[in-house]
Symmetry: C2
Subunit: 289 residues, 2 copies
């Protein structure tokens, strides 16, 4: 993997924060928008409607897919203080934060939500209980949150932008979507001149060897990643009827199948800068690819 961006401040318009997150401005923010506009253009080829989802997903909604038991190490929870006056007063006594920058929380309200771990979960919640009359194509870009053991600018962040194009439908409809999607992306990568290797992968389960879902994924791969210089900048994912069953979404008399094509927007920036250099004059326009 390229370490071209591991030195903070090397890239104009980029600021790297100790929380493992980036701020963007100038040409780099323009590139971010061009990259996402390219994805939206691909989504439009399937007539995919665009959605803007909020940052929280309810833990109850994720219970049906056992998210928190499968990925407890990745989750970030939004937590607020109990609003009782004496509790807030206790919180404000002493140093807030302390000398090491740590906030000592006093009593908190019940934790009901998770900060979005992956963009497409919002769709299954939104479409719960629906009978689909035909294949449904949708897209969204969401800020996603993942705790990791280490972070690297644009390449591995505690929060990042994920654009997804999702299909819900019959098994054949989803299969066709993912095949077309992979071809579409490959054609664009050729046009851009960005070299990518396609590799099968598994999801990063907690205690993978103890998890039957991980074993199932290894025996029958469902995820193919687009690897650019050792970094996965996107993936093509078949969920079979996993979400359709969990959220009672039906298609053609059965639990709907689903699949998604997912892109890590900041990782695309990383790959483009690693490939074309830090000078914006050398970056591809990404129009009509």
């Amino acid at each position: 993997m390229s370490h071209a961006l591991s030195v903070p401040g090397v890239l104009p318009g980029h600021r790297w924060l100790p929380s493992g997150q980036s701020s963007l401005t100038g040409p780099l923010l323009d590139l971010y928008r061009r990259v996402d506009r390219m994805f939206v253009g691909w989504a439009a080829e399937w007539g995919a409607g665009d959605y803007l989802f909020p940052p929280f997903l309810s833990a109850r909604d994720l219970a049906g897919v056992d998210y928190l038991r499968s990925f407890p190490h990745l989750a970030t929870f939004p937590v607020a203080l109990d609003p009782a006056d004496e509790n807030l007063l206790e919180f404000t006594r002493g140093d807030v934060p302390d000398a090491r920058g740590r906030v000592r929380l006093t009593a908190t309200t019940p934790v009901l939500d998770v900060l979005t771990p992956a963009a497409c979960y919002h769709f299954y919640v939104a479409f719960r209980g629906e009978q689909l009359e035909g294949p449904r194509y949708v897209t969204t870009r969401a800020t996603c949150f993942r705790r990791e053991t280490h972070y690297a600018p644009l390449a591995r962040q505690s929060s990042f932008s994920m654009r997804e194009i999702v299909c819900l439908g019959t098994a054949d409809e989803v299969k066709a979507f993912l095949e077309d999607g992979r071809s579409r992306v490959a054609r664009a990568l050729d046009a851009i001149g960005l070299g990518v290797a396609w590799e099968t992968a598994t999801d990063p389960f907690f205690r993978p060897r103890q998890n039957p879902k991980h074993l199932a994924q290894r025996l029958d791969p469902l995820k193919t990643e687009m690897m650019a210089g050792g970094l996965a900048i996107g993936s093509v994912n078949l969920h079979r009827s996993y979400f359709g069953e969990a959220f009672q979404i039906r298609r053609d008399g059965r639990d709907a199948s689903s699949g998604c094509i997912a892109f890590g927007v900041e990782r695309w920036l990383h790959a483009i800068v690693a490939c074309f250099g830090p000078d914006p004059a050398g970056w591809p326009s990404l129009e009509a690819v």
Copy 2:
């Protein structure tokens, strides 16, 4: 205040979530983008550079403005589980979440950050220690988080989109910016046909009567809100040299002054729908206003 939107599902493309947040699609998402494009157009009249900031602000960075002591009741903290294997194992035992949808957290990592409470804080952190050669105009749209005692669709949300146009400079430069800004917004509101009353206001401090900053704001108002049908859809704010001093930003041999014009994007949607009705055909284009 209009309660036209208090019935969930009444507005096509809007979905209201128990967390006090909205998802948007279709014409309502188009309107959201047109509204924000209008704000960006105004920002461009000052040559303001656009920024994309991440969701976290470090508690240490906010300590200089005593944020957590002034607004502990509004804050939401991102919290993750301690990654030790036995801690995660303990977390995954039993119901996650429980029957009431609550997540019982086991040991957590130190809390170092706050979910963005207001967009413009990011700028003062980013420009810390700078000597400004002239007035600086900048803009950003950020997802902001505020815990409240109750929520209402588009009008009062636990997370929402805030667009800000900010000026840092001398006291006179900031004063001129805020006066021009208020005129610019008033002219656009006239063109759109959206009636707004301008009212002085104070920030929602914890225990306001015990807070000298609240008293100072009451004696010498720094905040003017744009009230549409009882709902503040934006505000014009003078910070004097409060942030310049806290973040050592200097202009013309002194601590820089700053001021911002802030817009709640979802509240603009609320005001437009309340004024022009739920049919998208009746909504203003917002181009060239």
